[in-house]
């Protein structure tokens, strides 16, 4: 800028006052502008072209204001998937009847007195079977089609309530 002072600039402007573009210049101006713009664009790598187009598109639609909704929906879907997986992976309760040993740990006597008495209702000491043959015959077909109960109780069956002999 130092080599041009105001006088020189004024002189150049006076010289250019009478210059005219060639005929058809303005009619062809827009076409020529687009052609040069495409030439400039094709010199860039493809990824940059895509990026710039996407960038322009996003700004044109103002996607930033809409971006929170899909993110929220995605988060809800992920949580639901995790919870449902956890529920379905829990083991199912066994259908085999077992005596609960925890019941045996109940206090034997509410007065706190030490006793040999059974803390829970226990089986009655007896040596004969519970049912007669007539009664047992009625149950013979009851178990058909059902998996058997594989026997191994969690507590022994034989207890005494006192040191008596």
């Amino acid at each position: 800028m130092d080599e041009f002072n105001d006088n020189e600039i004024a002189r150049l402007l006076r010289l250019k006052r009478y210059e005219q573009p060639p005929p058809g210049y303005f009619e062809n101006f827009l076409h020529e502008f687009h052609r040069r713009q495409r030439d400039e664009l094709l010199r860039q790598p493809l990824w940059r072209i895509c990026w710039e187009r996407a960038h322009d598109f996003m700004f044109r639609l103002d996607v930033r204001s809409l971006a929170s909704y899909p993110a929220a929906v995605a988060a809800v879907l992920v949580c639901a998937a995790v919870i449902s997986l956890k529920i379905y992976q829990e083991p199912q309760a066994s259908n085999v009847a077992l005596q609960s040993p925890s019941a045996l740990s109940e206090a034997a006597n509410s007065d706190g007195e030490w006793t040999l008495a059974s803390p829970v209702a226990t089986r009655i000491f007896r040596t004969q079977p519970l049912r007669s043959l007539d009664q047992s015959a009625q149950t013979h077909t009851r178990g058909r089609g059902i998996p058997p109960r594989y026997v191994l109780d969690s507590v022994p069956v034989s207890y005494v309530s006192s040191f008596r002999f």
Partner: protein, 334 residues
Amino acid sequence: MGFSFVAVPLFYAQEPTAITLSQQVKDLFRRMANAVVKIHGVDEHCEIAGTGFFIDPTGTLYTAYTVGGEADNFTIEFNGKKYPARQLLADIRSGTAILKIDAVTPALPIGKSEELEVATPVVSIGYPLDLPKTPSFGMVAGFDRKYLGRYFSTTHLRLNLPTQRGEAGAPLLNMKGEVVGIVVSSLENNSSCYAVPIEVAEKIRSDFVRFGEARHGWVGINVSEAPAPVEGSRAEMTEIMEATPAANSGVKPGDILLQVGRTKVTQPEDVLDASFYITAGDTVPITVVRDGKKLTFNVQAEIHPASERRPLIASPTINRAIPLKLDSEGRRTP
């Protein structure tokens, strides 16, 4: 250097021991598994399945009370065939039952549980769930008289031996292949279990042979802990019940109990094992201390009041009482 000289021979010595042990278990399973059978039955709720084992060549088998006690319509899987079985006896006090099939069968030899000690290796063979015959290896963990605050009717063997449902009634074998117990229940996480000593089942079988039923006897004496030991015993007789064999035998409240039969008593808990093997009708010598003097009274046991009702089934031809004196063999009280 000293450590390495010691450690290296130890390492090589352990390896053959483990191989030998494994070989013993394999051999035992191969020899004994044929006498172990799967038992099917029907109880009041559903079909049940457990394990049992033959004890004589005529098809008599032992199992747990929970398998053979309260069910019926028994079927035994043996040698690939199914045999109908009948219940000879079921006894909840011992936790055992005796079944029988009509066939010629192999039989497991009966051992002595009194030879067991803590950490003695043992093997059981059972039918877990719907799986085939399976051996389990473990060791004796203890001899318990009570569990979760309740007293057993007699000492039970606690075993560090993994068990599964379906293995109730499985035989507990020592490393000689003799039955020393019957698996009756599992513990918390199925890594341990309880077994009754085989003598318990043998007592019941002896009763069955003599009387056709289990005959638990008693004499009618209550025992509690004495404030101070006398002659090494803290078992004090606190009550002599009326209208019982003990009432007119001469024993008195305040006597310190020293011996029942051949079983020495040092604390009230010892009465459990001493009394379990009393059979109604037998004469039981009871030794006490009174005023510093040792006295022995012979008392004829009566049938235990809780087992006075007669069995509804099992009416064999052998049903005659053969009274014995209880002075031949002592019972183990670990």
